[in-house]
Point group: C2
């Protein structure tokens, strides 16, 4: 790699929502921008969480100089403990970001984290790169964009952003600094695409206040507000509304309690102890004097609100007279869980407020007009849309083209796609490996696809175990084989499939005995073949068949 | 049951979307309104489809006099073959509804169906009830509401409806007839609640035409439109747009081909043979002269459009220059699959049009203002909101209350909830059994919950099979036990969990041998207990453990 060359490799966050992580590499070393995780879905059953495949970092182990975090959300910091287990490098982030990270590392038993606090406006040197942090608005305080002065030129990572001119806390996004960077000359911009399908502007966080005001004024009993645990702004809005309406505040849900503690401690949340009710004392406060903040806005089965909706929460119940606010949009894939929660709460008699029927939430990602403002100020020569499914990256591209950025200067990459910048030019070079690392049973799992397919097959079609005892000399079956099914159909079911399977296996083994087959592997193969064909003919299903031959 | 009493029992469609079915019973017999199915979700892995639990009909077998269908959608007719297998009763429906049903019964090998065609405006006698059919608008032609003159008074079932004053085909909903029924005096109304969360009016089907016009004018290559197979109106709009732009039409996707055939044959779709291109000839027509209609608007993995997006369709490919329209809203739960389809198509270079970015679809269910019109015309004494999750039923109730219908005259029921009407009064009486019948491996499965839980456990945590050969006399282990896992973790994985499991089971059996335990059941119990505790301690997972003891 020569001195004037820069490579940028997004390892996650392209063609998907989540697990954002990008490696920036030049001769002097590699800097990693963000280390996020993604949540498992129906294609990854039983998985704890999903990380970017960071084999690329393993291959360039000695080059990694540090990690820069744009903000404290899981899709930007959730992979950090797993990365730090393998690479002992410094981590740069703002106060709140590092506060959240510190608590996460503690959970993972990582003590040695070298965390270096920065703030918007700061400049740093790291691994031969010049780092600069620029204040942006997002759904968590203390979020920054990152500019890197590299051997090939100035590149900018937006992180997650929106332009909020009346933010709940802090200043509007630092558009002036973006303009100055634009004048300096931006070689490449890696811009957030999450909301690029949406025309116009995303409303200010401030607009949610009016909705909360109306709800708090009307409410007579308890008020419960569920939000993302990381949405400190929303929590702050609930606290402010509670202050105005003389309500005390309780916090429940493990991650919500943790984040509220961190935000209070670091000064991001003005919630005096005198207002705070301990979870165990919730029952002692009159309903009309209490607001409870909790997790569960996504209908996650184990979250506080979901358990209240199902009537299985240890301490909190809701009923007629109580008010519940789901202050978040459902993330795609969570719609059914969210609806289940709303239905459960309403069935218990609660007055439930939710999106899109009411303006109880606004997005933290800028829409098309905001993307245009940022692109117009930065005037990047090259654009790489990041953070988003293909359709979002594509819409971001269309928006940029509408501003006159030439088509050939916009690169839609996939994870592992590699850009090389040199002498003011950009080109794609060979991809690196970048699938996903699955965290299963607490650790990064080695093989993944085969097990995932197996779990899906088990869940759809179940499993048959066949145990046959055969005479080792002549292959004769000793007694009827045992057939046990799991997840297939009730063995008591009328159709008697298990009995028929026993008969089918017996027939197979009578045939093999005639042919004097005694090899266990050969017998297993025959059993699997015949039983599979019998079952699929009979039921159109293909359960996993596990034949066991015991030779006596 | 006395002569003046009426019971109404919704067996499905309450607290859920789908499997609509309601039994109406008086001394003279039972009439069933609709016989719908629902689609399986993540809580019913491997299930083919879900039917209402119709044990209630089995218990009153001799009373069932007939089935009345409001329209031809699966959530209203999909359970019919299963019901007709057990009850040989006449089925009433309009021409298109029966056309679709006939083809369905044929697939199921049911020949004896006694199908009786009716049309809107008709009156019939059935089982002592007076039936009347009223024309409504919906996303399929030939939909009707049903009024029943009963021993207790006049009751009305809306079926699925919207009010479309400029429909694609046929007349607007027969509001005049609803007004006349209102004047006659409606005792109870069972009204569609699907869209009751939505304020205002649903736009006319006509509005989609303008969107299609714009798309057809701009398109240069092939145009592909995906829709619900049952959405004959949408198909008709594509055909009309194709006529205006001199394009031929091809149809692909099994259910789409079937429904188009039926609609053409019965006169609901004006698609002349001269315009129709056979699937196998798609490649022979220049791209600019072709529009293809297919299934896959919901991202269903096996549907035509999904396979094209994935590049696995046998005959159709898309690329730059081609235009694809997903002319449907994603049904809750399908969002990810739909996004996957859009992403795949865009990645192949197609110009993709979809909701909500463009007005390519309108709902077939009336919103709040339409519900108000119908309620105002019918002036029912009692309202039972039907077709919908709890939150939808509740919003329907709120809408009715805003019109002055007293709270205590509105009944939100669950499936199996039973209303009794007598002397102008209504009351809830004891519920009947009404869960769901799961169709698994082609037949109604007997037990369901246990198998569903087992499949979910298999899919999340996998399975361990342990085979131990022991001496029948003293319980001594004969050689190391075999441990095989499926869906758990790769046996080759570093952590060597399988090896450790072999050691754990060996230890268990050494201990039992010392205690001279030889009973196979007792040994299995010990193995299961120890291995389960070992694995959950080690991995926090609880795989299904299947111990097999072979006594030699």
């Amino acid at each position: 790699m020569d001195k004037n060359t820069l490579q940028v490799v997004p390892l996650g966050g392209l063609g998907e929502i989540g697990k954002n992580m990008t490696a920036v590499r030049q001769e002097s070393g590699i800097v990693l921008i963000d280390a996020g995780m993604a949540f498992p879905d129906e294609e990854t059953p039983g998985i704890d969480l999903i990380l970017p495949d960071f084999s690329y970092l393993r291959e360039h182990k000695d080059e990694l100089k540090g990690i820069v975090l744009t903000h404290g959300h899981e899709d930007h910091v959730g992979a950090l403990p797993y990365v730090l287990r393998e690479f002992n490098v410094p981590v740069y982030g703002t106060k709140l970001t590092l506060g959240l990270v510190r608590s996460k590392l503690k959970e993972f038993g990582i003590k040695r984290g070298d965390l270096r606090e920065i703030k918007a406006g700061d400049r740093q040197k790291l691994g031969g790169f010049g780092l600069e942090f620029i204040h942006v608005n997002h759904s968590i305080p203390d979020a920054v964009a990152v500019a890197l002065r590299t051997a090939a030129g100035l590149i900018v990572f937006s992180g997650d952003y929106k332009i909020d001119l009346t933010p709940i806390e802090g200043a509007p996004m630092d558009l002036a600094r973006l303009a100055a960077l634009g004048d300096e000359g931006v070689l490449a911009f890696f811009g957030d695409s999450t909301n690029s399908e949406r025309p116009g502007y995303v409303p200010s966080e401030k607009t949610v206040e009016a909705t909360f005001k109306g709800i708090f004024e009307k409410a007579k009993g308890r008020i419960i507000v569920a939000s993302f645990a990381s949405h400190i702004h929303r929590v702050s809005q609930v606290v402010e509304a509670a202050k105005r309406h003389d309500r005390l505040v309780a916090v429940t849900g493990r991650s919500m309690v943790r984040n509220v503690d961190i935000a209070r401690e670091l000064g991001y949340l003005d919630l005096p102890s005198s207002m705070l009710v301990d979870q165990k004392d919730i029952g002692k406060v009159p309903d009309s004097d209490l607001a409870i903040i909790m997790t569960g806005s996504q209908g996650e089965p184990m979250a506080a609100l979901s358990r209240i909706a199902a009537g299985t929460h240890r301490t909190v119940e809701v009923g007629p007279g109580d008010t519940v606010v789901l202050a978040a949009h459902p993330i795609p894939g969570n719609e059914r869980g969210v609806a289940r929660t709303i239905n459960g709460l309403m069935q218990r008699g609660a007055d439930v407020h939710y999106s899109p029927l009411e303006a109880v939430h606004v997005s933290g990602h800028g829409a098309q007009e905001e993307q245009k403002i940022v692109l117009s100020l930065l005037k990047p020569k090259f654009l790489v849309p990041v953070h988003g499914e293909y359709k979002m990256l594509k819409h971001h591209k269309d928006t940029a083209m509408s501003l006159g950025i030439p088509k050939e200067n916009i690169f839609i990459l996939e994870n592992g796609g590699r850009m090389e910048f040199k002498n003011g030019e950009a080109r794609r070079i060979e991809n690196v490996d970048a699938g996903m690392f699955l965290v299963d049973a607490g650790a990064i799992a080695d093989t993944s696809d085969a097990i995932m397919r197996e779990r899906q097959q088990l869940s759809g079609d179940g499993m048959f175990v066949v145990v046959a005892r055969v005479n080792a000399q002549n292959g004769q079956l000793l007694g009827p084989p045992d057939v046990i099914s799991r997840g297939f159909a009730d063995p008591q079911a009328e159709n008697g499939l298990v009995d028929e399977s026993v008969a089918a296996v017996t027939k197979t083994l009578e045939r093999t005995a005639k042919r004097r087959i005694t090899d266990a592997e050969a017998l297993k193969k025959e059993i699997r073949k015949d039983l599979s064909s019998f079952l699929s003919k009979k039921t159109r299903k293909r359960p996993i068949i596990l034949p066991l031959v015991v030779e006596v």
